[in-house]
Subunit: 318 residues, 3 copies
């Protein structure tokens, strides 16, 4: 593993999930990362990702350097060849090359602008990091994917010990237009495991085909939920017209009645969750959401450990 920015960086997904479960049993291993530094760069705010990544690094004995680029850094230029005589103060190329030298792994959090689909799906910021970084890059959520969340989700599902579970992925309403990153990412990860996946959403919420080509889609939520072992719920805005909120249909909110259609299904959500909008209190209070958040630590720790060991092997072999 060279970087960790999508499922495609992982050679064997079930194996990585198993490693995370193993690490969780005995997480403190301070020698692996001793003298190593994790750099965390945030282009937008983050709570779970920030804290769980720090905790994961500390469990490995790493140090952590955090920078809120939007508040503590410079205005960044992304265009190659730009004549920088206006507002932007530092070119992404220089910033990334410099910061690479100050850390052993570089985590970066970017976000979808939801204005320009092509720009978001090209992952302009993350791609710049991958191009210019001289150390492994870990996505702490990007414009279109959230792989550390997906790995934690798979760990949480695996912990329940259900053989070939039915996983229903459902859209739910939300007052704001949100990115597609979490659902895209979950779909590309869950389809790498031995699982039956059904996606359900209102008309108009079709995702990029890239992420749904191997997934059964049923736009009748009640039908989709039948027999589900896991109900993975998330709001997202439309892919076309891009970034728009086209429904606030509260009949898609997950209730106890909806959960009764499942096979004692467990509710999942990446948090933060709008209570009594995405799902009712009663559903959330019996759900796996806190475990998912807990597993963010072991998800990140597994990734950092794998990347550190890969660096070590490179050095050893020279």
């Amino acid at each position: 593993m060279k970087n960790f920015t999508s499922v495609n960086d992982v050679s064997n997904v079930p194996d990585l999930v198993d490693q995370a479960i193993e690490i969780k049993k005995n997480p403190i291993n301070l020698s692996i990362g001793s003298g190593k530094t994790l750099g965390l760069l945030f282009f937008n705010p983050s709570l779970r990702t920030r804290l769980s990544s720090q905790k994961a690094a500390y469990n490995l004995g790493m140090n952590v350097i955090t920078l809120n680029v939007d508040k503590e850094g410079w205005k960044i230029e992304f265009e190659d060849g730009a004549i920088m005589d206006q507002g932007s103060q530092e070119h992404i190329r220089d910033a990334v090359e410099v910061i690479s030298q100050y850390c052993d792994i570089l985590g970066v959090r970017t976000f979808a602008g939801l204005q320009n689909r092509e720009e978001d799906y090209q992952e302009k910021v993350l791609s710049s990091f991958i191009t210019h970084a001289t150390v492994p890059v870990v996505s702490l959520e990007s414009a279109t994917l959230h792989p550390l969340q997906s790995l934690a989700d798979l760990v949480t599902i695996r912990e329940q010990g259900i053989v070939r579970p039915k996983v229903v992925v459902s859209w739910a309403p939300h007052p704001r237009a949100l990115p597609q990153a979490v659902v895209n990412s979950f779909l590309e990860w869950i389809t790498k495991t031995d699982t039956q996946v059904v996606l359900t959403h209102p008309e108009g919420y079709e995702l990029s085909e890239k992420y749904t080509q191997d997934v059964a889609i049923n736009k009748n939520q009640d039908q989709a939920l039948q027999g589900a072992d896991f109900v993975y719920v998330k709001n997202w805005s439309a892919y076309e017209p891009y970034g728009k909120k086209i429904s606030a249909d509260s009949s898609w909110t997950i209730t106890k009645e909806k959960m009764a259609l499942t096979n004692h299904g467990r509710f999942m959500h990446c948090l933060p969750i709008r209570r009594n909008v995405i799902a009712t209190d009663a559903v959330i209070n019996e759900s796996l959401v806190i475990k998912q958040a807990e597993n963010r630590v072991y998800s990140a720790q597994t990734v950092f450990k794998t990347l550190l060991e890969a660096q070590h092997e490179v050095i050893e072999s020279h």
Copy 2:
């Protein structure tokens, strides 16, 4: 000790003070907190508390995770059962349960809104943390109390070695309306020690009876100061009408002349201090304020150590 949010969490106050004095003699003990993480959550800015808590954790070998909730996190919902379709993004219940999983001790800084007395005195935010946290909660100042400051103050008094000292607690003017937390807290701590306490303030600055029932009150500042060994000074706004500034009387400013009424009394203040408003430069420059701030480290370190050891005992006994 399960949490540390008021003097009521402490079984023996003089004993805790002695422990802090002992720790100060040899503060670096990196094994106690090795592999442990302190989470610090700030709902409003802090300088001394932030830095001294970090230093205390580092002295114990702990890692520290800091989050400025107001700037780096989400807008938090506090009402149970709220339909979260407006501005708030995450329920306090979920936030606290999640963050608990990322740390071994959770410090939280909240503040008095000074708009609604009942709300402030119910300690809505801190109470939510205590209810939902799965690790010990330490108050880094709350709406109505500041126990880490009070412990440091008691350590500072104890270091002077005076048997049964007279401690005068005096109001002083300030340009803004400030919370009652520091003075409330100092009163509930100092009255647990072998001390003679006299409270003095202008008419209208009466505190909640909860904190003054065991305290002599003399509204003549000059009379109160006579024979004082320690003069603990603080501004606070009125309890009734709540949160209002009802006096700016500069005759309450502590001067060299006022200090001459005491028994070579030592001036104390929790900082930050408005020089030449709360007290004159001459008084502050000969005071104990810097020592009080220094003792914040050992106050926090004693609390963290006690909480870590209590966790360890729980684990050992299982």
Copy 3:
């Protein structure tokens, strides 16, 4: 070395450069700073300095406490004797004395207001830290100097192994009015080494004589560049009228054609750099700027190590 705020704090500059080069060969030495804390205070944003200082401290096993004074702290009063009944909340004297107690080395980043030359050149903020701190103070750039940058620059030059190189220091255009700190500092450091220094800038960009008295000045950039081994480029605003941008002359931008006038000269800049304004992409992409930034770590690490060892000797000799 007691503090590190200008070249005058260093007894032997070439020796300090050699130490940094030595440390770079084997930077991880976690025992030197074990149990020690670096405090970093920022009065304005910083990227390289913040991250490289943290990395340097971590390489020595130190802990780091960071405070963005402008965002996380109080409004600071700098006037002695001020009656603090207005906006400022804490006197610099109290803040510095307190923070000194929480760390073993105190780094502080201040900046030139560019409004009042006397005020900037008196280094009001940094001087307050030096006066009131009880631990060594390290400048993380001040109003008029940037010694950690200069040390890193000298390390970078030294690594090229050129005997008595010609170093040309050139002004270049920039859309905003910038401080003189980097160029002042570089001049006072480079003139302590065995180097031929030529300064070039447009009419009106004369620096304080304090920094140029030992330096040859040639206002014809092309002539100055001839035979240069290193071309150190920086924008600065005028010293008289103070802080003003009086030229945007793009004929001073460093191009491949300009570099062809040199003796295979290497381009240097402290970053962040306005690409295609200060210099063209082609020049920057072949330059030493990334190495300069890398050497910021070893520059800071050398200073912290020297200061820690000096403290240790003081303790040992007591």
